[in-house]
């Protein structure tokens, strides 16, 4: 088995795949790549199956040395990349050999670059997935983010290399000034006043410094609850409800003024009112917002959410076609 040498791990780089589905009932969130689109395109570029394990970095990516012949591709956030010190393209497969060093600079747009390597990152599976879940230290490389000097096992390359064509601009994500997050209002939106719902959907929110794979805390406005006598088991605070499951993407409002969008590594349930749920496709966009960025929540119905998912599937199909043509 060959290895990938980690010269520097970057700020917070973890091994992630498509996610650890099917264990929500035991309180295990899916983890997995936060921006599924960029992650999957990265794998397609290097000839992997779409869900192969890759690296997800945050703000500052890693520096990596290869020990054999591979293809590597960097997708996701805008990040200057060098190969052996020379500027290299992103959103394109790069052939590498033993001793070659790939280095990512701090991001210039977006938040999370992905590094996909042909053969995939071959850390052992844990509950059917290679995704890292740092809160309990499971999956990935010893359940933690990469550290300088780590060695990552790589899988065997099975499929022929991809074409080497770049992914065109229109099939890459954009990083607008205000990111729109389509949101299905519920499950506990009845707990908020009409005015609160209006200001929640009306004005952009700012991503605070507490924004990671577990959740994004947002600031900007105050949300009022409808007064009521709390039911048994709910707790005394106006933000408390009787415990419920939290869908990934749901937006809990613990204090009324700082909603938290729960993401891939979040707790699976609890007793805070949830005002809505960001649709799965737009969690790709959330993943590429960073501290200080603005997000505006736009109310949509379930049909729109499913339509958005279908569109993302079509975009991926176009990338696949382009790279195999």
């Amino acid at each position: 088995m060959t290895e990938l040498l980690v010269h520097t791990g970057g700020l917070s780089t973890t091994v992630q795949d498509a996610g650890r589905d099917g264990h929500y009932a035991i309180g295990m969130p899916p983890s997995g790549a936060m921006d599924q689109y960029s992650f999957r395109v990265g794998n397609l570029l290097v000839g992997n199956s779409e869900g192969a394990a890759a690296l997800e970095a945050t703000y500052i990516g890693p520096r990596l040395e290869f020990t054999d012949t591979r293809l590597v591709a960097v997708t996701g956030a805008d990040t200057p990349v060098t190969l052996n010190g020379e500027p290299a393209d992103t959103w394109r497969a790069l052939p590498v050999g033993p001793g070659d060093v790939l280095s990512l600079s701090p991001v210039t747009g977006g938040a999370r670059p992905y590094v996909a390597v042909s053969g995939g990152i071959a850390v052992p599976e844990y509950l059917g997935s290679r995704s890292t879940y740092t809160l309990t230290g499971g999956g990935g490389l010893d359940g933690r983010k990469l550290a300088d000097g780590d060695r990552l096992p790589l899988g065997a390359t099975e499929v022929p290399p991809a074409s080497g064509r770049p992914v065109p601009e229109e099939l890459r994500p954009g990083f607008p000034e205000v990111t729109e997050a389509r949101t299905v209002v519920g499950l506990c939106s009845y707990r908020f006043t009409h005015g609160a719902l209006k200001s929640f959907l009306g004005e952009p929110w700012k991503v605070t410094k507490d924004a990671d794979r577990i959740g994004y805390r947002m600031s900007g406005w105050s949300l009022d609850f409808v007064p009521r006598e709390q039911p048994h088991g709910a707790g005394s605070g106006p933000a408390n409800v009787v415990d419920l499951g939290y869908p990934v993407g749901s937006i809990q409002v613990p204090g009324g003024d700082e909603p938290i969008v729960l993401l891939n590594d979040a707790v699976t349930g609890g007793g805070y009112a949830t005002i809505g749920t960001v649709v799965s496709v737009d969690r790709d966009r959330m993943a590429q917002t960073k501290t200080g960025d603005q997000v505006s929540f736009v109310s949509v119905g379930l049909e729109d959410a499913l339509e958005a998912r279908r569109e993302r599937g079509e975009r991926l199909a176009r990338v696949r076609e382009l790279l195999t043509a």
Binding site: L11, S12, T58, Y59, I60, P106, V107, T108, K209, D210, A211, D212, K290, T291, G292
Partner: protein, 78 residues
Amino acid sequence: MATIKATMPGVVYRRPAPEAAPYVEEGGTVASGQTVALIEVMKNFNELSSEREGTLTRFLVEDGDEVSIGQEIAEVDG
């Protein structure tokens, strides 16, 4: 004159702990690689260091300010 730029977004602190003295005062000298501030993001405190040695002439942000990636934090002369 060079500036030290934020390598990540977050909240900047000029001291290692609330009660501690600042890493460096304006007008103080810094060595290459010396920590001049912390940036808190994603529940982690990340050290921000000077790339060169010289005199840290002034800070361009206040203690506790929110900064964006690439924002200028301090000026170093030397």
